[in-house]
């Protein structure tokens, strides 16, 4: 495990129950998908921020449990909300019930939209999992509950080396933008670029453990991007998060995807 809390006394994070930095010896690392307040049948729990936060954390707890982990093993959390006032009023305290006194590294973002327009919160985790990676496959991809999404709820990396890709956009080798006003073309180019970088690292699409897809329109992405994504992963999906945001580095960019992969 060998976990170190970095600058625990710094008041900025301390007052909010977070830790400025957490370092671990990455022996077994779990990446969760961004999880939300959905029931197993895909519908969203009713009642707004508090029930959605509770349900998202309950599902994360199940994903952690499958890996033999608890909230106290979480290294980093990323919290996406669409309504900051509601989060401050009802979400933060609900999330706190699950984390207790555990202080993790954390980032919080207010985004335009999550998978469902009425979703208020989505949380993803990076977790230090106990146990030896020996005699285990490099990647353990699993679901803690049935769902119809094209992703795994958790992926454990057993003793491999982690590869962090820069956010990939639809740029050609000469720096020009591929597929201006054409999301399908941009999706193809982004996955081409990801494929090339993975190849250079000795990895393949099935080596991807976590994916974050940032788009200007989730509706447009489902129509034009999802088929391209399906062709890239061919069923061997990572844990993933899909988020609608305001803008990317250039006005032409409609999508940016970043992935974390692992090799032996």
């Amino acid at each position: 495990m060998d976990r170190h809390d970095i600058l625990p006394e710094r008041p900025v994070e301390r007052s909010r129950g977070f830790m400025p930095g957490v370092s671990v010896n990455p022996s077994r690392i779990l990446f969760t998908a961004g999880l939300t307040g959905r029931h197993p049948d895909g519908s969203l729990v009713s009642g707004g921020m508090a029930p959605q936060t509770h349900r998202a954390c309950e599902r994360l707890q199940a994903v952690l449990a499958r890996a033999g982990a608890k909230f106290e093993d979480v290294v980093k959390q990323l919290v996406y909300v669409t309504d900051l006032e509601a989060y401050n009023a009802d979400g933060r305290s609900e999330r706190g019930k699950f984390f207790g006194s555990t202080r993790t590294a954390s980032t919080g973002l207010v985004v335009q939209r999550l998978a469902d327009p009425t979703m208020l919160i989505e949380i993803e985790l990076v977790v230090d999992v106990a146990g030896s990676p020996q005699a285990k496959p490099l990647l353990e991809k699993y679901n803690a509950e049935e769902h119809s999404g094209q992703f795994y709820q958790g992926v454990i990396v057993n003793g491999g080396r982690l590869i962090y890709l820069a956010g990939q956009v639809a740029n050609n080798r000469d720096g020009s933008v591929a597929g201006v006003n054409d999301l399908r073309r941009q999706a193809e180019k982004v996955y081409d670029n990801i494929g090339h970088v993975l190849h250079a690292a000795g990895a393949t699409p099935s080596s991807v453990v976590k994916e974050t897809t940032w788009v200007l329109s989730i509706d447009a992405w489902r129509q034009h991007g999802t088929p391209v994504r399906r062709g890239f992963y061919r069923g061997d999906y990572p844990a993933s998060t899909l988020v609608e945001i305001r803008a990317l580095a250039r006005p032409e960019f409609l999508v940016e995807i970043e992935v974390i992969a692992a090799v032996a």
Partner: protein, 130 residues
């Protein structure tokens, strides 16, 4: 700096950052999204991206140093801003901080951060020496 850099002529970055990095050993450090608060917790540079970006990178460096590393140990950063018009000021602050190439990098313009006063938040992942 226990990580390697991945590069390929087939896919090049759109600016001065690494396309990918691979952790090769040592501790893996996850750094919280850093915002423009000083050591006492007060917000620095209200409405001033340049001042906020400087404070953010200073805070990031403080965490890295406390972990026994420094900016060159960063494998990956993600920069979240709220207005794309602010990007030039961010790019300027970043190049003042990083000598040479940036880590693998992502830039996202979000609706807002967790305090409406914040214009920028930067999180990072670093590989800290054996």
């Amino acid at each position: 700096m226990p990580f390697s850099t991945i590069a390929t002529p087939e896919a090049k970055p759109v600016a001065n950052y690494k396309m990918a990095t691979c952790h090769e050993g040592g501790q893996l450090l996850y750094i919280s999204g850093q915002v423009a608060r000083d050591t006492s917790g007060n917000i620095v540079g209200k409405g001033d991206m340049r001042a906020q970006a400087q404070q953010v990178f200073q805070n990031l460096q403080q965490v890295l140093r406390a972990a026994g590393g420094d900016l060159e140990d960063l494998m990956k950063i993600t920069t979240y801003i709220t207005k794309i018009e602010d990007f030039p000021a961010v790019a300027e602050a970043r190049s003042a901080v990083f000598r040479g190439e940036l880590p693998a990098s992502t830039l996202i313009v979000v609706k807002s951060l967790f305090d409406p006063e914040f214009l920028i938040e930067v999180e990072g992942i670093a590989a800290i020496g054996e």
